[in-house]
């Protein structure tokens, strides 16, 4: 049977290639989007653990964590909590660097653990009160800037005091400014985006998060990357968009396979009639048709997986987010792509296979 399936697909190679290509495009889209969201999730992990924190406190109900607004006074109260060792405020300035809109400028207390966790590769920390800024090594490399150069943030020039590396993509692709200066730039005195918290040894993140959310109504505590993605409307939107695309790919792919196989059985009535005549059961003939559909889909899915891996990289460049999102291909992501490919073959092959079981050999032979 396998040999007959292979032979039939090779015999109509152009049709096989076109159908498989359609499926490949669908599967590639899915794999590329999955690798993109996986990358986004890894980036979100960076957002959760900024400055080596265990969790981040944000305003509840915001469409994007970067738009959160908290009062600066919260930091002192949080610092007093028994589970908390250190708390430091952060003000995030998004699209503040005109030359790289993806870069985030962090307004951080110079004495806070966030600023202290930055490893300086060159230069030194800014003097208190000076118009100086620290720049991440990725951003510095991207903009070809060094210590002593000028970085413009929201129209104001800041002298680069040093270049740092933290190992967190968000931080290394951005810059760090004193909190007071950032608040002045954003015209948000006494406000911050989040409070980053380091927990006491032995304290459980989930329990601490529940306790903080109870104590400070209107806040949400993000402890893991999935939560960060869910908290942001963009992350939710992407997840739902992917689901829609998967469903569309399934429907379009299945219709394409069904159409191809239906045309194929009309053309091959003589062959199908012959198989029935020589004693192939309807189920066996239907299996042949279904097998051909699945084989075409597998071919398409295999090509789609390859294109999807390449497409994931192209997607982040096309969206202009390569500075802080690296597509991440996982076995589960590839598996889901393959699963969709096989599902397309099975769904698309069911109707033609069912039609075959309804054909009587004589009619088929007369038609062939």
């Amino acid at each position: 049977m396998f040999a007959i399936i292979t032979t039939n697909l090779l015999r109509r190679s152009a049709r096989t290639v076109f159908t498989a290509s359609g499926i490949a495009v669908g599967v590639a889209t899915i794999v590329a989007l999955l690798s993109f969201t996986q990358g986004l999730q890894q980036t979100a992990a960076g957002l959760v653990h900024l400055g080596g924190s265990d969790l981040g406190v944000f305003q509840a109900g915001v469409s994007d964590p970067t738009t959160s607004v908290l009062p600066e006074s919260m930091v002192r109260r949080l610092q007093a909590s028994p589970d908390v060792v250190r708390a430091t405020p952060l003000l995030l300035l998004v699209e503040g660097v005109k030359s790289d809109p993806a870069a985030i400028v962090f307004g951080a207390e110079p004495a806070g653990f966030f600023t202290h966790s930055l490893v300086l590769l060159s230069g030194r920390r800014p003097q208190p009160g000076s118009r100086a800024i620290l720049i991440g090594d990725r951003l510095a490399s991207q903009l070809h800037l060094n210590r002593g150069d000028l970085l413009t943030v929201k129209g104001h020039g800041y002298r680069i005091a040093g270049v740092y590396h933290s190992g967190i993509l968000f931080e290394d692709s951005g810059a760090v400014l004193a909190l007071a200066q950032a608040q002045q730039l954003a015209a948000r005195p006494g406000e911050e985006t989040s409070v980053e918290i380091q927990l006491a040894p032995g304290a459980l993140a989930a329990a601490a998060a529940r306790s903080i959310e109870r104590t400070y109504p209107g806040t949400q505590v993000i402890t893991d990357p999935q939560q960060a993605l869910r908290a942001g409307a963009n992350g939710t939107l992407i997840s739902k968009a992917i689901l829609v695309i998967v469903v569309i790919a399934l429907i379009v792919g299945a219709i394409s396979v069904a159409n191809t196989m239906a045309m194929s059985i009309i053309e091959r009535q003589g062959e199908i009639g012959l198989l029935s005549t020589v004693g192939w059961s309807p189920v066996r003939v239907a299996s042949l048709i279904l097998g051909e559909g699945v084989a075409v889909s597998l071919l398409g899915a295999a090509a789609g997986l390859l294109f999807g891996v390449i497409g994931g990289g192209l997607l982040v460049h096309a969206l202009g987010v390569s500075a802080y999102v690296s597509p991440s291909v996982t076995a589960w992501g590839l598996g889901r792509g393959l699963l969709v490919g096989v599902a397309i073959g099975v769904l698309g092959g069911i109707y033609p296979a069912w039609r075959v079981t309804r054909m009587t050999p004589l009619k088929v032979l007369a038609g062939g």
Binding site: I4, T277, V278, W280, T360, P361
Partner: protein, 230 residues
């Protein structure tokens, strides 16, 4: 190849219509096991329909067709019953163009679920039987019309049928090739002992058969035997 007893055929009051056209009207017929019967008649007289009903490719509207006492359509697995009892040869060879002669002969054996090595052995043995052992790996496009029809005969014999139904098997061949194919079919029938029913306009077929039946306007004028059961 093993020799076995042919199947008896009873056609009992069978009628069949396609739309408003009555193809067969109350046809009854008895064929003894091992008998060779030629079926003649004008175009549209119902010959092919009769063969299709006997072979279980269609269900009669009325009456019944028994092969060795079994109604193929009433079996729990009609395809299996057809495979085990009946072999078909058509006017067109209907070989699968992308498969070699050997693979074409193997097709019915795939339907029977035979292991691929056993299939291969049997297909080669059948091709030897029809004088085409040296053409086993050739595609149908590389075979002559006569050779293709011989492959079709080998395919029809693959599951050792007890009844061979041939619908104008030489209709698409020249007279010399027809002669050779007919020789082969009748020799195989003599050697294997199967029942043979052949539709043909060729008087040579009638001369070789044990009996000739003529159909006209869906009716048969041969004497009808009493109910037959093994």
């Amino acid at each position: 190849m093993s020799t076995q007893v042919g199947a008896g055929v009873l056609v009992d009051g069978v009628s069949k219509s396609f739309g408003r056209i009555s193809s067969l009207v109350d046809v009854s017929l008895l064929v003894e096991p091992g008998e060779a019967v030629a079926i003649t008649g004008r175009s549209g007289s119902g010959k092919s329909t009769l063969l299709a009903l006997i072979g279980g490719l269609e269900q009669p509207d009325a009456g019944r067709v028994l092969i060795d006492g079994q109604e193929i359509w009433k079996q729990p697995r009609p395809a299996r019953a057809r495979r085990e009892l009946v072999g078909f040869v058509f006017q067109r060879h209907l070989l699968l163009g992308a498969l070699s002669a050997r693979a074409n002969v193997e097709v019915p054996l795939i339907g029977a679920g035979m292991h691929h090595r056993a299939r291969r052995r049997r297909a080669l043995s059948l091709l030897e039987e029809v004088g085409l052992a040296d053409r086993a790996e050739h595609l149908p496009s590389e075979l002559s019309g006569g050779e293709s029809q011989r492959v079709a005969v080998a395919r029809a014999l693959a599951n050792e049928p007890r009844l061979l139904l041939a619908d104008e098997p030489t209709g698409a061949l020249d007279s010399h090739t027809s002669e050779r194919v007919l020789d082969m079919i009748f020799q195989l029938r003599d050697r294997l002992g199967m029942t043979l029913m052949v539709i043909s306009y060729d008087s040579a077929v009638g001369a070789r058969a044990d009996r000739t039946i003529t159909l006209a306007d869906g009716r048969i004028d041969s004497p009808t035997a009493a109910a037959f059961k093994r």
